[in-house]
Symmetry: C2
Subunit: 314 residues, 2 copies
């Protein structure tokens, strides 16, 4: 597997700031993506769940990815989400990512029909691989059953890896069930397993996993990166504890609206609070409590190269 060595590190499913008409605020999106890379992310899993990806049309997603690359963000740092309900949409987004030279794609299974059998899920991924037809394609499967409603059984992952060993090289486990990643890495040693939460980052790296792709890297990449860089060191467990406490604090609030509320406060830009329906912006009083809790928890943006860093410590 040396030729297809999977990615590793800390990846961020970048939030998507919106204009008043709920179109993507492309300039603010690019600025946020650049800041995330400066703040410690190895790369960006743009158009994930946290990015409200499925709330954007395929054309909107393609235009945003083009804009990001045109703005100078290295495609080698990009792992866009491309899995849609329609195999034709998935293939189109995936082909664009390959053509742009992205490091890989993060792929949901088709998620409208529930309770579908393994053959149907296998055929969905196989169809995309055949349609795209590129030996440069690298797929990271996306297991988030509590949202998508369609989980990826281990037997399916093994079957895909066996059929497409150079293409299906990793998986993001957002199930919250650590035993899934643990069993995956036992079954497929060296597989590019990313934990969907940094809570499992140290356990994942110790089990031979690849890193994390986590929503909260949108506001806490630096500390998560420090843990990743020092995971074999004496302080690793303490660092994990600190990272976990911050994650748990944020998890007490609606994740996507909460993160957007924090960025809005840090940047002094209320427009950052916008979400696309069916998500709703965080209630202002709840948002104030989130910011209070973060401050009390010693969570600060101070020292980060952020345009509004001082606002965060106020």
């Amino acid at each position: 597997m040396t030729e297809t060595r999977p990615l590793s590190g800390v990846y961020c499913p970048a939030l998507t700031p919106m204009n008043a008409d709920l179109s993507l605020n492309t300039a603010a999106f690019i600025e946020h993506c650049r800041w995330l890379l400066d703040d410690g992310c190895h790369g960006l899993a743009v158009f994930g769940t946290t990015s409200e990806a499925n709330s954007f049309s395929v054309d909107e997603r393609m235009a945003a990815l083009d804009a990001l690359v045109e703005a100078g963000v290295a495609p080698a740092a990009l792992l866009p989400g491309t899995g849609c309900c329609a195999i034709t949409d998935t293939a189109r987004l995936t082909a664009q990512a390959v053509a742009l030279g992205c490091a890989g794609v993060l792929m949901l299974p088709p998620f409208y029909y529930k309770g579908v059998d393994e053959d149907g899920l296998f055929a969905s991924f196989a169809d995309c691989i055949e349609r795209v037809g590129s030996d440069r394609l690298r797929i990271y499967l996306y297991h988030i059953p509590q949202v998508s409603g369609v989980g990826l059984p281990l037997a399916l992952v093994e079957r895909l890896v066996k059929a497409y060993p150079d293409t299906v090289v990793g998986l993001k486990d957002s199930s919250g069930d650590w035993s899934y990643t643990e069993n995956l890495l036992k079954a497929i040693p060296g597989f590019g397993a990313f934990s969907g939460s940094e809570v499992f980052l140290l356990a994942n790296l110790r089990a031979g996993g690849a890193g994390t792709i986590s929503a909260t890297t949108n506001v806490n990449a630096r500390a998560i990166r420090a843990l990743y860089d020092n995971w074999t060191g004496d302080t690793a467990d303490d660092m994990q504890d600190g990272v976990t406490r911050r994650r748990e604090l944020i998890q007490g609030f609606p994740m996507i609206p909460g993160l957007k509320h924090v960025i809005a406060a840090v940047r002094g830009d209320p427009g950052w609070r916008r979400t696309r329906p069916p998500l709703t912006p965080l209630d202002q009083a709840v948002g104030a409590r989130l910011l209070d809790d973060l401050a009390t928890g010693g969570f600060s943006f101070a020292g980060q190269p952020h345009p509004a860093a001082t606002a965060a410590t106020a």
Copy 2:
């Protein structure tokens, strides 16, 4: 509500035949739609769950609807599904339906995020209504929580009807829980409530509902239409029993692959068996059992103006 009197009758979520590359077989689709109208359907709820609508891209769906209207199918008989995960996609499909003069649209809520609050769901529908901005728009909400993962609470429906009384005029209840329709019609008398299964057709009509939009009308429209036409007659309960028995027989098999298998047999066209992943064509042995069960159950296409009617009785 006379100006916005909802539709009523028997509507079919037409199956979508596919070419070998899984593109829509447009000619066969048009032929099937015409046959359904000849066979007793008042109209066609094209691009519903049974149509594998979400397995097609927005562009594919728009091209198919254009082709159907160009082929002479009356837009007044069409109630296309238009609800997507992205509000921009929903608005685009809905605007096309309005521009073509369709009778209405059947609208899923955005279905990627689960557990979203009522405000977010309300905003999703309101966003589409505002974006489309037409007083000709008629929305039938689509409640199918076991598939979409996102149900429509009665309070939400009432709120939408109050805000948009001339636009939100009906709902398809595919939950399988009759009490949902019952409570809906008590709360909003005269609402255009369609049962998602003909099993509830008589109960629905007696409660003041509008009719049915049912998968099995793809193969049993004539009997269902006869029940609709005679629901106040002495034989209505017997007719309902017969229709229910057929439905229950088919429900013992995977619905969409099963219906496609039946049509393939009736038309003598194996290509009709194709589905898009994640659905898979019915296993041939299972399909043979389905056809046997239908024959044993007295289910026959004989007498229907179908190109391959004789095959069904063989």
